[in-house]
Subunit: 671 residues, 2 copies
Amino acid sequence: MRKFLVTLLTFACLGFVKASETGFLMPVPQSVSWGQGFLQIDSSFAIVVEGVDSGRSSHAAARILARLSKETGIRFSPPPAKPNAGVLRIAVRNPAPLTPVLGIDESYSIAVNGQGAMLTAGNFFGVVHGLETFLQLLRLDSSGFNIPAVTIKDEPRFPWRGLLVDVCRHWIPMDVLKRTIDGMAAVKLNVLHWHLSEDQGFRIESKRFPRLHSFGSDGLYYSQDQAREVVAYAAERGIRVIPEFDMPGHTTSWFVGYPELASSPGPYSIQRTWGVFDPAMDPTREEVYEFLDGFIEEMTQIFPDPFFHIGGDEVNGKQWDSSAAVAKFKHNNSLKDNHDIQVYFNKRVSGILKRHKRRMVGWDEILHPELPNNIVVQSWRGHKALAATVQQGSEGILSWGYYLDHMRPASYHYGIDPLAGDGLELAVDQRSQVLGGEACMWAEFVTEENIDSRIWPRTAAIAERLWSPSDVADVEDMYRRLAHVSKRLAWLGLTHIASYNKMLERLTGYREINTLKTLSDVLEPVKFYERPHTRKYTQQTPLNRLVDATRPESNAAREFAELVESYLMNPTLEGRAKALRLRLIQWRENDKKLQPILSTSPLLAEVIPLSRKLTRVSQIGLDALNAMEEGSPLGDRRKGLAKALSEEQTPAAELLLMIIPPIQTLLNAAP
Amino acid sequence: MRKFLVTLLTFACLGFVKASETGFLMPVPQSVSWGQGFLQIDSSFAIVVEGVDSGRSSHAAARILARLSKETGIRFSPPPAKPNAGVLRIAVRNPAPLTPVLGIDESYSIAVNGQGAMLTAGNFFGVVHGLETFLQLLRLDSSGFNIPAVTIKDEPRFPWRGLLVDVCRHWIPMDVLKRTIDGMAAVKLNVLHWHLSEDQGFRIESKRFPRLHSFGSDGLYYSQDQAREVVAYAAERGIRVIPEFDMPGHTTSWFVGYPELASSPGPYSIQRTWGVFDPAMDPTREEVYEFLDGFIEEMTQIFPDPFFHIGGDEVNGKQWDSSAAVAKFKHNNSLKDNHDIQVYFNKRVSGILKRHKRRMVGWDEILHPELPNNIVVQSWRGHKALAATVQQGSEGILSWGYYLDHMRPASYHYGIDPLAGDGLELAVDQRSQVLGGEACMWAEFVTEENIDSRIWPRTAAIAERLWSPSDVADVEDMYRRLAHVSKRLAWLGLTHIASYNKMLERLTGYREINTLKTLSDVLEPVKFYERPHTRKYTQQTPLNRLVDATRPESNAAREFAELVESYLMNPTLEGRAKALRLRLIQWRENDKKLQPILSTSPLLAEVIPLSRKLTRVSQIGLDALNAMEEGSPLGDRRKGLAKALSEEQTPAAELLLMIIPPIQTLLNAAP
C-alpha cells in the first residue's frame, strides 16, 4: 500500500507544474513564495476588477479569461459571476496614461490561496503583467485545472525591454504583428521597435508625402489607421511602440518617389537584395530638412511615444564622396569627413525632433559630443560602445548579443547581460543609464510564415534577462521553462510550431513529415551572415527550403548532448548507453525511409547529402559508443573517424548538423 | 541503368498528384481530360482578368494567388506582372447579381498547357469555382510547383448544396464562421444555412426587438453589421446565406425577453440542456403575427436571399394542450389537432413571407396541401418524406443521411444520393424538384474548438455527392482524395488537424501527445444521439474530454481494416502479415507508455480502461494472426476470444474502439 502511494505521488510530480522554485514562470518574478493548496478553476471562476482604471483592466481581464477558457476548454458562467465562487480580484491604485511611457511603474503582486486570488498593481500596466503571470500559473493536476497557492511580488529589472521587428526586407502583415505583440506581452516585453523604412521598402502611409509608400512599398504598407491600431493594441498590452525611420542611409525606398532627397540624382528603384547600399540623403539641401520636418511631424501624430528612432547606421558615404555639392558643403562648413557630415545631419534632425517634442534614438553611430545628451543610443556593437554612451552622459540600450537573425541558441542570448560585459565598467550611479535592451528580428531571411519560429521561443529567454534579477541564470532551468512557454505561446496563437510542420509538409508535397522532421530536428541554419554568401538572394527568392523551416535551435541535439554528458559522467548507469544507442540507431536508419521522399521534389534535392550525413555521423557515434561499452580501444580507427567527423562539419544546404559536437565528445572519450 | 530509371519513375509516381483520372480534384468535375506537360508556377506567374465583372473576379483571383503563394512559399512579382510569363487568363461572359441565387449558372471550364492557362465562366460564380479547381491542380513534382496540362468542363449536378451551421447550442464566433465559408467554397458548396435561433440562444441582433438578442443570447450574438459581413463574405465566394429562425417551437430564447409571444405566461430563461422542449409561440394572438411580420421584415434587410427558413420542426404541442386560449381557438377555427394548429400558423407565416418577397423553407413537418407549393421542404426524415414533397408539387432538399453530428464515416454520407433511396420513385420531370441537399452541423457537442474537426473533411465527401455526376462513387478513390483535401483545407486555415493536436496536448497537461494520439486515432465518438444518455450535459459542460477531441472517423482503423482484407485475400504475400503484426504490437504496447500520462489528469481518468482495452483487443488480433501464420488452430480458445472481443464493443468514455470489427474478421478467418 505504501508503494502504491509513492507511485501515485511520482505521477503527480510529472504533472503540469513541477513545483520547483520557479514553476513554469517566465520571466521569473522578483520574489515567489509557494503556499499550500490551490484555487480551483471551473466554470464558476470569475475576475472582478476594482479601483481606478477599471475599464481597461476589465478588458485585459476579459482577454485573460478568454485565454483561460481556451486553454482549459471551460466555458465560464455568463455574467454576472456567482459572487461566492473562486474569484480573482484586481485592485489598481493609480491611474495611468493611455500609452505606457519609459520608466512607468510596472510592478504588481499576486496572492493566491484556496479561496481566491488577489492581483494588486500600482497602475494598469502592472495589471497587464500580473494577469500574464496569473495565467502562467495555471496547471492541470490530479485536482483538475487550478492555480497553486502562491505569493508573488514583481517588478522589472530594466525599464526598456524591446523587440525590433523589421517589416521592410520582407513584409509582415497586421495579423502577424498583432500576434507578435501578444507574445511580447506574454513574456512582459514593453517596447515594439517598428523598423518601418529601409532600402527594400517604405512601409507606412504618408498623407503628406504619398509617394513614399505608393512608390516605395510594392503596395505593402500599413495605412495610418492600421498603424494607430497597432499603437493602441500594444498600449492595451503595456507595450510602447517606437517607430524607426532609418536615415540618412538605408533610404533607397524613400528616393523611388522623391529622388530629390538623395545625394545623387537617381532615378531609384526599390532595392531587392541585401547589404549596405550607397544611397543617402543629401545633407546639403534645406529642402531635405523641411521634408523631414513635415514627415516627422506627421508621424508624431500617429506615434505618441516620446522617443523617435532615426537609425543612423551603416552610411557608407559613397554618394557623398562622389557629389560635388557635398564636397563644397563640407568645405564651407569645415566638416572634415563623412562622419562629420553625419553629425551635422543628426544635429539638424535632432533639432527637428526637439521641435516635435521627441527624444532621438539611434544606433551606435549617432553618438557624438555635439549631440544633446538626452539621446538614447542603441548598441549593436557591444558593451564597449554602450559604455561610451554612458560615459558621455547619455542613456543606452543593448542589442548586441540579441540579434535573432544570427540563429544562436537561447542560452547564448540568455548569457548576455546589459550590465555585464567586456569593456563595461560603470560607477553605481551610472548603471541606471543602461535602460535595458532589445532583441532584433532583421528580416532578410524571414517572412510572415517563419518569423514566429525565429522570434519564439528564444525571445522569451531575452525577455527574462531583461526582467528578472541578474542572478536568475540557471540555463537548465531556463530551458525547462522555455519548452513549456513555447507550448503556451502556441496556445496564444503564435505559429512557431504549427508553421514548422506545415513548411515540412509543403516540402514533402503533403506527405507524412515524420522522417523529414527527424532530420530537420537535429539541424540548424548556418549562423551570423553566412547565408547570403552561399547563393544569390533577392527579396523575391522563395524562402521555402528546409533552411527556412528548420528552427534556429535544435532541442533534439541539445538534449542529445546532455545525454552524452550524463552518460560520460557515469557510463555504467542503467539505461544511459541504451538511450544513446537507440537515438543513434534511429538517426542512422532515418535516411533509408527519407530518401524516397527527398527524391520526389526539387526543393529537397539539396537535402539528400544532409540525410546521408546524418547516417554517417550517427555511425561514428555508434562506433565510439561500442568502443566505450565493449572496452575495446579504437586504436588505428580513431584518427580516421575523427577526420571524417571533422569534415562533416561543413554546412550543406545552408544547414549544420548539430549532433556533431556531442559525437565528437563521445569519440574523444572512447578508449 | 534501366533499373535506375524505373526507380526514379516509381518515385515520381509517389509524388504530389497521382496522375489518375481524378487527380486530387474534389468534387470531381463533370469532365476532365489530362494532357501532356505542365504550367510552371514560379514568381513570374500571374492571373489576368478579362471580360465583365472583372472587379470581383480580380478580388477572387487575388485571394487564390495569396493561397498559391502560401502553399508554395513563392512570392509573386509585384504588379504589373510580366506579360511574357505563364499566366492564368480569366474570361467572364455575363454579369451576375451581387449575391448568388438558386439555379444561377455555376459552370466554368479550364484549359491548361505548358504556355498558360485559361479559365472561362458564364459569370463570376463560375469563376469562383474554377479558381478553386485551379488551385486543387497545384502539385509539387520533380519539375517543381506546377499545374498539369488539363482540360476541364464543369458544372454542378444539383443547384442547392448546403451546410447548416447551428450557432445556438454553442456559440460560433465570426472567425470560425468565415473559415467555414472558406472551406465550403473550396469544395464548391453554395448555401450556408445559418441556424440562428433555438431554445438555447438567439444569435442575431434585432434593432426592432432588442430583447431578443439582449435577453436571449448571454451576449453571444452577431451584430447586424457582422451578419451583413457574413452575407457579403459568402457572396464573394459564390455562397448564398439562408437564415433559419425556427418557429413555432424551438423558441425558448425568444421568450426570455418577450414572454408574451409564448403559449404559456412564463417567465422564461435560456434553455441550458439538450432535447425537445415545450415552449411554443402562441398561434392564437394577432400580436404574435405582427411581431413576426416586423421581425421578418427587419431580417430581410440583412439577408437578400429569396428563401427564408422557418424551421417548423419538433413542436411537441404540450403548451398548446394546456392552454385554454388555444383550446378555444381550436374550437373556433375548427382545427382538430396540434398539427392543424401548426398548419394554421405556417399559413400565416407564409403570408408574411410572401409580403416580404421570400419563399418559405422548412423541415419535413411543414409539408401540407394548404401551403403554397412554392415552399422548399428540407427533409431530415429521408427519401420517403422527400418523395411526398415532390408529389405535392413542391421542391425539396435532403438532409437525412447528412447529419454530421451523428459521427458517421464519410463513406456513409457519400453513399446517400438525394435522387436515389428507399421510397423515392420519381418521374423524370419530377427529378428537378429535388434541388440538392445540406449537411447539418448541429452543435450540442460542438464548440468553436472542435467544430472544424466535425465538419471537415467529411463534408467534402457530401459536397462531391451534390456536385459530381452520380456515378462518381468509388469509395476508395474518394478516401484517397479526401486525405489530400483534408490537408489542403488545413492550409486554407481550417483547424480540424491543428485543434485535434492541441486538445490532446491540453489533456496531457502540455506533455507529448504521441501515445495518447496512438490510442485516440483508433477511437471514434459514440454514434447518433448516444452521448446525452451517458451523462448529464448542459450548455456549460466543458467539452474538453477525449471524446470531444477524437475525430468522427478513424482513418487508422479504416486503413487497418483494409490491411486485414488484403492480408486475408493473400496471406502469403510478402510484408502483409508483418505489417499487421507491427501495428498490433504497437497498439498492444501503447498502454504501458500511456498509463503514466493518464494517471496525472482527472480528465484522462476515464481513458485508463480504454487504453487497456486497446491492449487486450490487439492481443486477440495477435492470437488470431499467430494461428493463421503458424497454421495452428485456435481450437478451444476461439470461443473465449470471440466472447471477449464481443464484450469489448461496449463504449467507454463515450468512445468506441474501431479496430474491433477488423479484428473480428481476422479472428473469424483464423483456423
